[in-house]
């Protein structure tokens, strides 16, 4: 399956791009994807030490245990200040 990932604002500084599509194994979870991204972009770990990374799945907060589906839109965002994002 393929998922589209958007890196917003300061997060894009760490990945060097604002979006990309990735092919994942069927049954992958959001946590699996985040681990893959940390491997691909080690600087994400540096960033996570500086401020909490927020992750949305199709515009909503999602647990790392949630299973991804083909066509999902994932976004990695830095905090605003309230940190409430559900859209």
């Amino acid at each position: 399956m393929r998922v589209r990932i958007r890196y917003l604002a300061a997060v894009a500084d760490y990945t060097g791009k604002s979006e990309e599509e990735l092919e994942l194994e069927e049954g992958s979870t959001l946590g699996d994807l985040l681990e893959l991204l940390r491997e691909k972009y080690p600087k994400i770990r540096d960033m996570e030490r500086r401020f909490p990374l927020l992750v949305l799945r199709n515009g909503l907060n999602a647990k790392e245990s949630s299973r991804l589906e083909d066509g999902d839109r994932i976004a990695l965002l830095p905090p605003v200040s309230g940190g409430v994002y559900n859209a």
Binding site: A10, L77, V80, S81, V84
Partner: protein, 154 residues
Amino acid sequence: MPEGKAVKEELSIDEVVEDLSRYAEEGMGAIVIFIGFVKGDVDGKRVDSLDYEVYEPYTTRHLQRIAEEEMEERVYDIRVFHRYGSLKPGDKTLYIFVAGRGRKVAFEKARRVLERVKHEPPIFKLETREDGQYWVFGDGRRIRRELNGSDKVE
């Protein structure tokens, strides 16, 4: 009808006021307007530009939700428009219109809507000024942008 939206272009304030004026016949007594601007000076440093990044359609969806959730009996309408893109000092960034029964409820509601808009939706600011670039968070905290990923907290 309450409306919240991320917009690229400058807004015609007159058109919105004209549209909201029709509520006067139903008992509306006041429209409070808040307009935010890009500041040309921050901490004594010259600001060259302020870039707003949004995450559509979620930013608009969130602004719309704020406008709808803040409606109440003595409030006739709420309109919220947040601009995105690269803006210069003096450019308008945020418009909030509240049509209320009277001035008190309209001012209070406008203040509340403003606080929510500042803190909740996914809107990000990158300030370019004479001493570098800074990511600006909703509470005014700034993180110096270093493209090698070693940001320095100011």
